[in-house]
Symmetry: C2
Subunit: 232 residues, 2 copies
Amino acid sequence: MTEQPAPTTTAGEPATARGEQTRQLIRNTALRLFRERGYAQTTMRAIAQEAGVAVGNAYYYFGSKDHLIQEFYAQSQVEIRAAAQPVLDREEAFGARLAGVLHAGIDVLTPSHDFAATFFKTAAEPTSPLSPFSAESSAPRQAAIDLFAEVLTGSTAKVDAELRPQLPELLWLAYMGVVLYWVHDRSAGQVKTRQLIDGVVPLIDRLVALSRLRVLRPVTRQVFDLIRTLRH
Amino acid sequence: MTEQPAPTTTAGEPATARGEQTRQLIRNTALRLFRERGYAQTTMRAIAQEAGVAVGNAYYYFGSKDHLIQEFYAQSQVEIRAAAQPVLDREEAFGARLAGVLHAGIDVLTPSHDFAATFFKTAAEPTSPLSPFSAESSAPRQAAIDLFAEVLTGSTAKVDAELRPQLPELLWLAYMGVVLYWVHDRSAGQVKTRQLIDGVVPLIDRLVALSRLRVLRPVTRQVFDLIRTLRH
DNA sequence: GTCGGTAGTTGAACACGTTCAAGAAAGGCG
DNA sequence: CGCCTTTCTTGAACGTGTTCAACTACCGAC
């Protein structure tokens, strides 16, 4: 009675140079077409034809059409990291660093907004390997969390001792929230998302500072207990 | 270059008793099969066959397979409301009322966890009429928000004047968060979600109380400004 | 009662994602 | 060079959601 009986074929990593080349060819063709036509409008047949290979060949390297999205995901991760680097080198204030990373994320993603929205659909499915919470995407997820750890460690912010180890993951979660908003954001150039970032960063900044406040001790304690329980 | 060219056909509301009957028949058959086999494993052909109609007939009433999910959505809404009623009649404390409604939601949804997870995938797509944020689902959304308004108005809680009008919608948003967690929750019987609710309700309760606190004035002000900006 | 129009119904046909048995190319080994 | 194994490639075929032109049932008006 379970949904999605489990993936039938795991796409193999190429073992030869020829294979690697074909893999890249299909990958790049797919990403280009996704950007040009959107995800739904890009058929596997079109990808194969444009890449000059047979349909089945694409399935030798990528388990499904959805798996091609993972390539987009991975590439974006790298680009975001690169786009955020200058800010991380320059800024020392926690808020500025956080804002820098979040804006870098949107900078990179914006050109692909229409396509990325559809991609998010697939990512939202819990059983999908594309889910940001899934085991399969634990590598890119950890890379993202590490980025937020760097936001924190490179900053001058004084953070509550109990909060500090949890914070990178919480920031990543907030980032997921921003992306969720961005995906639904139909304002021109996704300006609203920019406003969300600029509004929410000082808020987080302030909350992090407040976390050391006496009155809030019980609340923060409560939050951490909950997180600990849920983490398992 | 936009994704999803816009729905081609809007499914017509039945105008005769015969039509209404067929519509219900298809609807009920579909919901039953979804529950029995899961969403992906239920084909439109199977629905039609079990209902004793032609495939095309289902499309006369429901624009797509996804639209059948909306029926599930609507029915759940009604059941949740009913399940929450006793608690709303009995309890006066804000926390107890909120917990009651949230638990009622999970109570109703739990039998369909596997299926509902898949359904959530479709709901996550921004362009989908099924998205909880979309115009098409504004009716059920408003009904849900009203439920949370009732949680508030029937309670003895003292709430900051500025927060009060915003709170129902914020609670609904929190509810969406709970559902998102629930969908990803693979613990037996979704126990973790229960823990989340029991952990997060006192937290919200406390935060609502704190909202009147002097020190937090700037923070709450900041939050409301942000919300106002984003609302448009 | 018959006629005309609206509401409802049909199932073959289409395009898509995906599979798979068959074969081609490449590489290693004597 | 010839042989075997692994890696890669092919495209026809399957099952799916969806469409649509043709058809039937119903109902009000005359």
